[in-house]
Symmetry: C2
């Protein structure tokens, strides 16, 4: 693409580095900025820089936070006997939005992936073990990792590491998504959903 | 959505104001920034502010430009006898990328739209007429506006205004897109493509 201006070219280059944005969308965004007031662009730029430079991570659960401890860890309403282990902060948000979970979290900051060079040492696993040593109130660990090979590997590794604590360890249910069509479910999911069938009590 | 941090919430709010980006994509972008270096976010922010504050518009054709006259108006290789009238700078880029046009442009900055309160006075129409008065070398005006009701209205208005100059006035061809399927073309396009059929010479 030939740009009429170096400034446009530079801005399009920067914007198209963002995930899910190609050159065409980037150009559309940059040209849109030209139609808005300078203040609006300034506050967009400020918000981006602020989020990158001022964000903190909770000392306890490693979720993103505005202070040393995140609002979930600080809340007296949360059930401190359950800790849900997730891959990243986005998963915390997703689970929070269901409104079904009232326990605490532990954000690993990734999953074990030999292909991408992520080993257990790169994740907040040691931090989880240390945390559990000083938290006798914890009774259950929920491993809420994606049902992929990497996720399952990480879950398996965590199970081994957590065994000495004699806690209840569970994982989120795998099965046919609500609203999903049996016919289109893959064999592995369908197979697992039969094996882990739920009894009508 | 409940955000774990005010900074994230603010950044997501700003990013989701951009065209084509919803709350979920905005969150993905903001969390992606946290994974990159601070420098990268800073240069993204700088590029956005620079494009907004430093961009200029060509004095002659109103295309976006880094200087008083744009590179197209300044180029001695362009055919100064043809002026292509377009809605905005994006159209200039689109036509330039075809590599089929060597003339000059005139960017209206919008199209006549009574519904959105855009009248002829808001567009660079008077500027086009003034430009033509001082450019006897111009022989042809190509009206390259979208084939919508607003585009056709604007073309019709321009035709009337341009009549006194006794120039050749043309518009881009309407018809079945290359690779398009006759069967799925709408009736109006198909009808027009028969009326304006092209002779094999």
């Amino acid at each position: 693409m030939n740009f009429p201006s170096k400034l446009i070219e530079q801005a399009v280059g920067e914007v198209s580095k963002l995930p899910g944005i190609g050159k065409k969308s980037a150009l559309r965004i940059v040209l849109h900025l030209l139609k808005r007031s300078e203040n609006e662009t300034q506050s967009l730029a400020d918000a981006l820089v602020a989020v990158r430079t001022q964000i903190q991570y909770c000392r306890k659960c490693h979720n993103i936070s505005d202070s040393e401890l995140c609002s979930i860890c600080l809340s007296p309403k949360r059930d401190a006997s359950v800790v849900c282990v997730v891959q990243d902060s986005r998963d915390v948000l997703a689970i929070e939005n269901t409104g079904q979970y009232t326990g605490l979290y532990h954000v690993l900051g990734g999953i074990i992936s030999p292909l991408e060079g992520v080993s257990p040492g790169d994740l907040k696993i040691e931090s989880l073990l240390q945390r559990l040593k000083h938290a006798p109130e914890v009774r259950e660990i929920i491993l809420a990792l994606s049902p992929t090979m990497e996720g399952d590997t990480t879950s398996f590794y965590l199970q081994k590491k957590l065994r000495p604590f004699s806690l209840k360890i569970s994982t989120i249910a795998r099965g046919i998504p609500i609203g999903g069509d049996l016919e289109y479910a893959d064999e592995i999911t369908l197979g697992r959903s039969i094996v882990s069938r739920i009894n009508y009590d």
